[in-house]
């Protein structure tokens, strides 16, 4: 079966600065289960890109394999996409990014795709501070292969079939922090209010932006006893702060209260305004971020919001000192040294 979204367009849909409606940011019709958290994240991506006035073709969307990794077909239909192999999206994103530094790279993955089969590649993409947004749609299970526990399932969490997970969960945010990630955030697919500004901030970040989004699997892991169910997350969510994302060179119209708030100015001049900060947490302090994550975990809570942010890091292009021009745009005539040079090389080998 193939699914194509109906062509009907609502005549009064609002347009963004580029003259596009949200329709220009949508993809084909989703084939995921009704109510799947992944679709909400896809919708948040559409909304974030629409609001940020991103040219859709300037985004390259990539994924691995899984229900979550299918979603690039369902958002940003005018963007090129690459549904790679299971767990290997980071390497394809790395190569793509090396070829053209000017596109915006948006990778989506699942908890199986990232925390199990793809752990090696994930870890190294973080370590290289690859300039991309990496979203894990985390449902604590393998949706596409019918609900097996994943490595992010919490110890003691109960599957729909009733078995209890006996293993420690891998905390992807904690791991990313440990590896030196420069942007770490956590959110919940059911919290658009928080998710959209976080996606915006992640896409504006220069370097590796990691976004772990709890995304309930309604079919296999939304039962009582599961720690990745809608009910559990709603009851245990604990935010680092509420936030607004202010794009670069935009006049700040809201006046924010002093004291309890924090402003984070990003690489490109955009601003993250954080208010209602959780106590003892500072987004620029890795230690306090690690502590906040650990504490909420101990208390069985789900810490959401911006966990850590640092914009001073060099991305992989900075480290490799590559040309300011996208490598894929340099003409072959310039890349090929020509016959005279080759004669010189020959002479050295005679």
């Amino acid at each position: 079966m193939s699914f194509v979204r109906p062509q009907f367009r609502h005549p009064h849909l609002p347009k963004n600065e580029l003259g596009y409606t949200t329709r220009e940011y949508e993809g084909s019709l989703s084939t995921l289960c009704a109510g799947c958290g992944h679709d909400s994240i896809g919708a948040a991506i559409v909304q974030a890109c629409f609001e940020m006035n991103i040219e859709p073709h300037q985004v390259a969307k990539l994924s691995g394999i899984g229900c979550s990794s299918k979603t690039p077909a369902y958002f940003l239909g005018n963007s090129h996409g690459f549904n790679t192999v299971h767990g290997r999206m980071p390497s394809v994103a790395t190569g793509a990014n090396m070829a053209n530094r000017d596109l915006i790279y948006l990778g989506v993955s699942g908890d199986g795709d990232t925390a199990s089969i793809g752990m090696g590649q994930f870890v190294h993409a973080v370590r290289r501070n690859l300039n991309m947004t990496y979203i894990v749609m985390n449902n604590g299970c393998y949706g596409l292969t019918k609900g097996q526990d994943s490595a992010t399932a919490d110890m003691g969490s109960k599957s729909k079939a009733g078995s209890v997970n006996p293993f420690e969960a891998i905390d992807l945010c904690g791991l990313a922090l440990e590896l030196g990630a420069s942007f770490v955030a956590q959110s919940f697919s059911g919290d658009k209010q928080q998710l959209i500004p976080l996606i915006k901030a992640a896409m504006h970040h220069h370097g590796f932006a990691f976004l772990n989004v709890i995304s309930p699997c309604v079919t296999f892991n939304n039962n009582v006893g599961s720690t990745k169910s809608y009910d559990y997350v709603r009851q245990h969510v604990q935010a680092t702060a509420t936030m607004d994302f202010v794009p670069p060179a935009t006049e700040i119209t809201t006046s924010y209260a002093e004291g309890a708030d924090a402003n984070v100015t990003m690489h490109d001049g955009s601003l993250l305004h954080l208010h209602k900060l959780a106590q003892g947490w500072d987004p620029s302090d890795r230690m306090s971020a690690i502590e906040a994550l650990q504490r909420s975990r101990m208390e069985g809570k789900v810490l959401t919001g911006l966990v850590y942010y640092d914009d001073k890091g060099k991305d992989l292009h900075d480290v490799l000192n590559t040309s300011a021009r996208p490598l894929n745009s340099i003409p072959m005539t310039e890349l090929c040294p020509g016959s005279a040079k080759l004669r010189e090389i020959n002479a050295g080998l005679q």
Binding site: M1, S2, S28, P56, H57, Q58, A60, A73, G77, N78, S79, H80, G81, F82, N83, T84, V85, R88, P90, S91, V92, T94, G95, A96, N97, M98, A99, N100, D102, L103, G120, Q121, V123, H124, R128, L316, H317, L320, N321, T322, S323, A324, R325, L327, N328, I330, M332, E334, L335, C336, P337, G338, S339, K341, L342, R343, I345, N346, L349, Q350
Partner: protein
């Protein structure tokens, strides 16, 4: 055994003692005297301490394959001395360091011993410990130059070139040479019955290794993204690319027109290549058998999703870790059908560094033209040894063939773009590069089945149409890949010989040896897979075809049987799989065993 310009010298050293540059000096000096040489490293999988050998064949007739039997062995490694004494042919010579006396058990009555006090002399002449070690090596080169009549001025010139910019090092090196020469002149009858004599047989040939040539070919081929994971014997491909690019690919503002990523493993390396080429760059990876094994899943994706990939496989002795520093042609089956499902890949078989350069550069065109992986099947012998070969050539009028790409301009004129439409009837569709057009030409690349417009589908008919189009593309590939090398205008025999890659030099020599014995066989050198039509023609025109290759199972023979659908009895394998390069002698013996006397 009196022979001019026709002998084999073997050096036995300890790995990590700086012998490589002295041994190279020896080989290069003979090359500079206009005489064909072929040096081969036989080295352990170890960084320091284990035995290593360097074997130089000198051949007036220009035979560059390995030859069995050592005429002169220089052994400066006590650990391997027993073995080294045994390798010398009866009537041959054994050169050793007589600072310590030779053990009785090492004395053979049928060879001549030449003891040189290398350690004693160098300890006396030099104070620095490292220099004492290094100059022992240069001193034996000096001694050999006296024994074999290598021109001193040639050696001196080479030292000058080697130490250009570090002139202080020239004098002590020349002195070490002289110490060796003086010792021979005063103590040993010279020259030996076999020696070198200046010739004009190398023309404008160059002496270089296949890996450097691949690296350089990739620079010329326009590669900008390199992803790799270290593995012998392929490592020096990426390193060569790096050092050439560092000189030839720097922007006016000092920034690099290339990116090299040392990946976390081979899975990631090939993934990076796929990402880069999808995004419009030319990109390659270099690896060896274990890496290709890991890359299988991605190679299937690249085949099915039609992504250009260039992969240089420098083969070594398998299976598993096998003998990682020995040579073989044993990844043929693996590479041809890498990955699950119905996959087939284009393979190129270079036989010289010149061809490594050409085929690497060509492979970027082929990969983009065919939108599929191209694997260059080199091996340790070709990649890591110096070979005398034709100089590199580049035609400045040549344009890089980027294959079928729809740009924004093209897309403007199309109502509905279909990524997998066979618009031209050759099985090759048009691709688009991410970012090309705001509203046209985008699609999701996937390894799952899809229709002509890249829309996911599980419709059997659409799946089958796509697979059949890929078969059509495979047929098109046959017309684009490198044609085999023919050795005769007209077939003269019912017997044919097929070979490829580094079996070539020894196969050619074997054909000469057989001719001298009255057996004239037709020959063809394979240069690519899928097999060119000229290969099917050759096979059809001969009753029996000998297939020469360096693996146990006759992998190329298997490929020929399967792909050409020929009666297996018509192919006879001629094999060598002990990790050493195949010799002409073994080829001749194996073929003779099948011929009536």
């Amino acid at each position: 055994m009196s022979a001019c310009n026709d002998f084999v010298v073997r050096f036995a050293n300890v790995n990590g003692t700086g012998s490589a540059s002295a041994n190279y000096l020896f080989a290069k000096s003979i090359f500079r005297m206009g005489i064909p040489v072929s040096p081969k490293n036989i080295f352990p999988s170890n960084i320091q301490g284990l035995p290593t050998w360097y074997e130089v064949r000198v051949s007036e007739k220009g035979y560059l394959g390995r030859r069995e039997g050592v005429d002169l062995c220089v052994s400066v490694n006590p650990q391997s001395m027993k073995q080294d004494v045994q390798c010398v042919k009866p009537g041959g010579y054994f050169v050793y360091d007589n600072t310590k006396p030779l053990a009785d058990e090492l004395v053979r009555p049928d060879i001549t011993y030449i003891g040189i006090p290398l350690m004693e002399t160098c300890n006396r002449e030099y104070t620095d410990a490292r220099q004492r070690q290094l100059f022992k090596n240069v001193m034996y080169v000096g001694a050999l130059s006296a024994l074999l009549e290598i021109e001193f001025s040639v050696l001196e010139d080479l030292l000058r070139e080697q130490f250009a910019g570090k002139e202080k090092l020239i004098a002590p090196n020349v002195k070490a040479l002289q110490l060796g020469i003086d010792f021979i002149h005063q103590n040993v009858p010279y020259p030996l019955p076999f020696r070198v004599e200046r010739r004009d047989l190398v023309g404008n040939s160059i002496l270089t290794d296949g890996n450097s040539a691949c690296g350089l070919g990739a620079v010329y081929g326009g590669a900008t993204v390199v992803a790799w994971y270290p593995i012998t014997p392929s490592t020096s491909v990426a390193e060569a690319f790096h050092s050439y690019a560092d000189e030839l690919r720097i922007d006016a503002d000092g920034r690099s027109n290339y990116a090299i990523v040392q990946a976390e493993d081979e899975l990631a390396a090939i993934g990076m290549v796929i990402g880069a080429t999808w995004n419009g760059s030319r990109s390659f990876t270099a690896t060896s058998g274990p890496g290709v094994s890991l890359m299988n899943e991605f190679l299937g994706l690249a085949y099915f999703a039609e992504i250009p990939v260039v992969l240089i496989d420098v083969q070594r002795t398998g299976p598993s870790t096998g003998m990682p520093t020995r040579t073989q042609q044993s990844d043929i089956t693996l590479a041809a059908y890498a990955s699950h499902g119905d996959t087939k890949h284009v393979l190129l078989f270079p036989s010289t560094p010149t061809e490594c350069f050409d085929m690497t550069a060509d492979s970027f065109d082929l990969a983009e033209r065919l939108q599929t992986p191209i694997m260059i099947m080199s091996d340790l012998d070709l990649g890591m040894n110096d070979h005398m070969c034709e100089p590199f050539h580049w035609d400045d009028a040549r344009t890089h063939d980027r294959g079928k790409i729809y740009t924004a301009e093209h897309l403007e004129k199309i109502t509905r773009y279909g990524r997998y439409l066979d618009t031209d009837g050759d099985g090759i569709p048009y691709r688009t590069i991410p970012g090309a057009h705001p509203t046209k030409g985008s699609y999701v690349v996937r390894g799952t089945s899809r229709d002509e417009h890249a829309v996911y589908t599980e419709d059997s008919a659409a799946y089958k149409r796509n697979m059949d189009r890929l078969t059509k593309k495979w047929e098109t590939a046959k017309t684009l890949v490198h044609a085999p090398q023919r050795y005769q205008e007209k077939y003269v025999s019912k017997l044919g010989v097929l070979f490829f890659g580094t079996s070539t030099q020894s196969a050619e020599e074997a054909l000469d040896l057989l001719r001298e014995k009255g057996h004239v066989l037709d020959a063809l050198r394979l240069r690519s897979f899928p097999f060119h039509h000229a290969v099917s023609d050759f096979v059809a025109s001969h009753e029996t075809v000998f297939v020469i290759e360096q693996n146990r199972d006759g992998q190329m023979r298997g490929l020929l049987i399967t792909e050409l659908n020929v009666d297996p009895h018509r192919f006879i394998s001629v094999l060598n799989y002990d990790g050493m390069p195949i010799t002409a002698d073994t080829i001749m013996q194996q073929i003779l065993s099948h011929l009536p006397n």
